[in-house]
């Protein structure tokens, strides 16, 4: 048993855990971070887009030495049917700025760097250590953790649970329920290596410019899901994810979906001749605002994916993780500075501060989206993409049919597939959920 008592123990060295540990250490608290992987990042999976703003608040000069891949100058949305895609592309020279706003990163490498900052700030980081249980006293207060190392009991005033989407410890201690199949997506992804020049030519990039493609449509075979293709310096990160409950219903396999996505005529040329170096899978919290569990209690707080803080619509998770980790640490520091105990009453400060931040405001904004997409997934991911593709084909193909007739045909196809009422209903519901 480690005899000394810590001000705080942080479980997990992902985005949320590293942000929390760094902040606690910078404020002079005695903090221990525990991570089950060989190093920070060795268990973590992401697309991955990094949002500069949230990292700047933690490591202001991160651009100097962080392993960044490409700064994004272009975003593409693809609505796909089996043979085509309708795209919306936004590219701007303004993204070639001195301090770019978004970058692609490779998580295992990025986390390793982030962890080096945590250590420099003075935290004790112990990897290859799985926390197996929270230690609670007779009153149910969390007073430390048990690990899988010999005699592995360690005590602290407060435990920060940054344990990621699976959140095993919180479930075991009955602080929150296990995620439900309808509230998590299973994503599978691959890393495709190609020469730098090839990537730049295929994606229309120069230097360190980058592009990301988000894709939806028949690729998810009617399930609620999205595909993504992100350009890194010398590799392309490509994957697809769908709700676990939808996988259960359809009997689709995740790797089957991935292969179909890769062989789509719009995708295949982008990765042709590549060398695959990794295959990974991970869950993504998709339950939204309504799935957020209790965020604090006697001697504990929960941050990041473990708290289901993930904005599925904008594909943001790591920035919510970093921000919730930082805010939890700041709240703990304030309580500590007042020499007050880490009770639920005092730790409510974390929730109050989070409510005031973009994290909760964004989560709230889209509170009705997950259910909407789920209930109508057939329309959003199968019917509409096919119809839009047909309408585009009608629009661009020159075959002697009068334009008026073509437009009528497109419209008729929409109404036949969904009825006026259904179309208006969907449009109305989307607008309301988006508001």
């Amino acid at each position: 048993m480690i005899e000394e008592k810590f001000d705080a123990i942080v479980v997990g060295a992902g985005m949320a855990g590293n942000a929390a540990t760094l902040t606690l250490a910078q404020r002079g608290l005695k903090v221990l971070q525990l991570e089950r992987g060989e190093y920070s990042g060795s268990k973590n999976v992401q697309g991955a887009i990094l949002y500069a703003d949230m990292l700047e608040k933690l490591v202001p000069d991160f651009r100097e030495d962080a392993p960044l891949e490409r700064h994004l100058v272009e975003q593409r949305f693809w609505m796909m049917d089996d043979n085509s895609h309708v795209g919306l592309h936004y590219r701007s020279e303004e993204f070639n700025e001195e301090k770019p706003n978004r970058y692609t990163i490779i998580r295992a490498q990025f986390d390793k760097w982030f962890s080096s900052k945590v250590k420099e700030a003075g935290a004790t980081v112990l990897c290859e250590t799985t926390v197996t249980e929270l230690i609670q006293d007779a009153y149910g207060r969390v007073i430390g953790v048990r690990t899988d190392r010999a005699g592995g009991q360690i005590h602290a005033d407060v435990v920060v649970l940054a344990e990621g989407v699976n959140g095993l410890l919180g479930t075991r201690a009955e602080l929150r329920p296990r995620p439900k199949p309808e509230n998590v997506a299973l994503a599978v992804k691959e890393m495709h290596f190609l020469p730098r020049e090839t990537i730049e030519a295929r994606f229309n990039l120069k230097g360190d410019e980058g592009v990301v493609i988000e894709a939806a449509g028949t690729i998810s075979r009617g399930m609620t899901g999205m595909g993504f293709i992100y350009a890194n310096k010398e590799c392309v990160s490509l994957g697809i994810g769908c709700l676990v409950s939808d996988f259960q219903k359809t009997g689709e396999t995740p790797y089957g979906l991935l292969e179909r996505f890769k062989s789509h005529p719009s995708v295949a040329p982008l990765i042709e001749g590549s060398e695959v170096k990794e295959y990974a899978a991970h869950l993504i919290p998709e339950g939204g605002f309504k799935a957020i569990p209790q965020l604090y209690g006697e001697g504990w707080v929960v941050v990041g994916d473990a708290a289901q803080l993930n904005n599925a619509i904008h594909r943001e998770g790591s920035n919510l993780a970093m921000t919730s980790g930082r805010i939890a640490a700041e709240a703990i520091f304030q309580i500590k500075s007042r020499r007050e105990p880490m009770t639920a009453k005092n730790l409510a400060l974390y929730k109050a501060m989070l409510d005031e931040s973009f994290v909760m405001k964004d989560m709230k904004k889209y509170k009705d989206m997950p259910a909407l997409m789920h209930i109508n997934s057939q329309n959003f991911f199968l019917t509409y993409p096919q119809l839009v593709s047909k309408a585009m084909q009608n629009f661009v193909r020159v075959d002697g049919t009068p334009k008026v007739e073509k437009e009528k045909r497109s419209l008729r196809a929409f109404v036949e597939a969904r009825s006026w009422l259904g179309l208006f209903g969907d449009a109305f519901r989307i607008a309301r959920a988006w508001r």
Partner: protein, 97 residues
Amino acid sequence: MSDPSVRVEDKLFYNRYLVDAGRAHIKVRPHTVPTAPLLSMLKLCPARCYEMNEAGQVEVTVDGCVECGTCRVVAEPSGDIEWTYPRGGYGVLFKFG
């Protein structure tokens, strides 16, 4: 568009693992007839760790597990499996993630 053939074993071959021999972190409850959640894992596990044996029971081999947690979400509530993380340092080691 037809389904391209997929060999998951080939995909797992790219990955690095440190296998904790003799200490499987996932266990299937002994059964004669598999339940619906267990059966669904045959298709749902991204590393195809779940397989049906000749007697018609579902078995798990965790060597290729990528620790996603999907089977825990699906088959733990019914008590069909016991799920935990591998011991510290063991299991999948992502180089890229």
